[in-house]
Amino acid sequence: PIGDLLERASQRSDRLHALSTMLSQELDSHFPPIGRVIMPRPAMCHTSSLQTPNDKEQALQVSESDLLSLARSLLQAWADPLLLLSTSANTLPHPGQSRISNKIQELREQSKSLGDGLDILSGKMGPDARAVSLLPYRGGSDLGQDKISRLINFNFLLSCFRRDSHKIDSFLKVLSCRAAKTNPQMC
């Protein structure tokens, strides 16, 4: 049933966001002060053009299919950039480079299986849920030449993913609770 699929999907999205938070904290532990000043603003994220709710009232008014469509659109928008993060992590000038590399790998795997799960779900929730907004990543195939640029661009991309994974997690948890009317104890 859809409720179980949504419950499992929101557990995975929870893990996805938690991973991105751990990665952000690892990166922040060794980040040049100048980086905070010159790092691009969140509004520059490649997914920022997607209109999403910005508070609870707006979010609770969005239909189930639109919430799922938003989650899938965001997730699919990260397929290429996560690959870029994964290849860039191997040469990241950071003392925690191998830990970061492993976590990025797990991030890709979790993201892939969450995407597969949401594809199945959307098949059960009607055509609107299958609609996906295209959010192409146009940041190129590398994160810059010099060490500082690579670290800053890596951190920026990850900060964008962290925010989007929180959105995905929030949308799926709202969906999961709507589907859980038969099991109110969990919501």
Binding site: R41, L60, K167, Q185
Partner: protein
Amino acid sequence: SLPGKPALTRCRSPEKETFTCWWEPGSDGGLPTTYALYYRKENSETVHECPDYRTAGKNSCFFNKNDTSIWVNYNITVVATNSLGSTFSDPVDVDVVYIVKPNPPEKVAVTVLEDKGWPFLRVSWEPPHKADTRSGWITLIYELRVKLEKEDEWEVHLAGQQKMFNIFSLRSGGTYLIQVRCKPDHGFWSEWSSTSYTEVPDYFQRERSV
């Protein structure tokens, strides 16, 4: 002299719908000094002043539901001003989704029940009333701790999303202290709830009399 540099010390949201920021004033330079908080949201160049300096008390700014957006960066600065001029705090970037710290759980109730002649404690609670867990907007996990009145060591139990927990292997005739706290899926632990006390009957006495 000019006022000392104030510092934004903390911002917290109890339920991902509103939030509050607090600041530490610097030295006042020996002159009457006023403080103001200004913020700019990431996709706007407009600078706004704090909407509410009162609700959350001294040296604070409260953002109600209408003033609060999530997944949006707030760039916040505090300004101290006296007759000689103004001093600005370092700006701080805040996204409400990363500053959630709920209030403690409420209506903590402890009941002594019996299972095959052995007593156990059933602890139940409610989420903090401000947190909307029903719609899934906020997902809380809970932790409780229990100890005997005369002892120092707490025994901690993770209850997950449940709002009820049973505690077995109790000390006959002991008085137990119980507290509960909660944490959003991505955020900070609340403070512990106020302490609930309960006394376990002296069941060994009854055993000997059988």
